[in-house]
Symmetry: C2
Subunit: 120 residues, 2 copies
């Protein structure tokens, strides 16, 4: 199966005012994923804006021409990391990106921003 | 340049109750685009759900490995069609999918759901 890419918005603020000194929540989410135990074949891709600013933190799961892409929001790096990792592992184990509903972490059931079908 | 795909959610209801007899707003949006004058190389792709149900009607613009993908919502096929067509034409004219801000129709400036960077 094709590798999986996790695209992480690093500028997401979770609706908080930007503090000049502190890393943004999106950057902290990326940092947490960078040191996490990701399944083989999963790559992180930082991006400066996913244009879903009112729903930050946000990330997208994609992977190859055969998988659906899913975009999730309202993520909190301080509390959601275990669920995010579970969701990434479940997604990476599929051929088409569609994880059965009951196997999705609650945050992936409830915090979908959008999904896109595989490339035509 | 690679062709452009407009992915249209046909089940979007615009928050209205589903009427058994009438086509859904998303289906009407697709029908309107099917008979519209689209630029050469632009293809429509119906899909049954983009998982952005609270923001329907929704569509996504994508095209080849070099373009950003944009997802828009809160679209109304009865009033937004001219702006949607302007936005599609502007997008199709780019190599990277990024239309200068001032050249985007207002609905594409204000009703972004999310965007995704080009494929890795």
């Amino acid at each position: 199966m094709a590798g999986v890419t996790i695209t992480v918005c690093t500028t997401c603020r979770r609706g908080q005012p930007a503090e000049a000194e502190a890393p943004r929540p999106g950057t902290r989410m990326l940092s947490a994923l960078e040191v996490a135990d990701l399944p083989e074949g999963v790559t992180l891709r930082p991006v400066e804006c996913l244009s879903a600013c009112s729903r930050g933190c946000t990330l997208a799961l994609s992977g190859g021409p055969d998988r659906w892409t899913y975009i999730y929001g309202d993520l909190d790096p301080d509390i959601h990391l275990p669920e995010i990792l579970d969701g990434i592992a479940a997604y990476a184990a599929t051929a088409d990106g569609i994880v059965p509903w009951r196997d999705r972490p609650v945050i992936f059931r409830k915090q979908s921003i959008a999904r896109l079908p595989p490339q035509e």
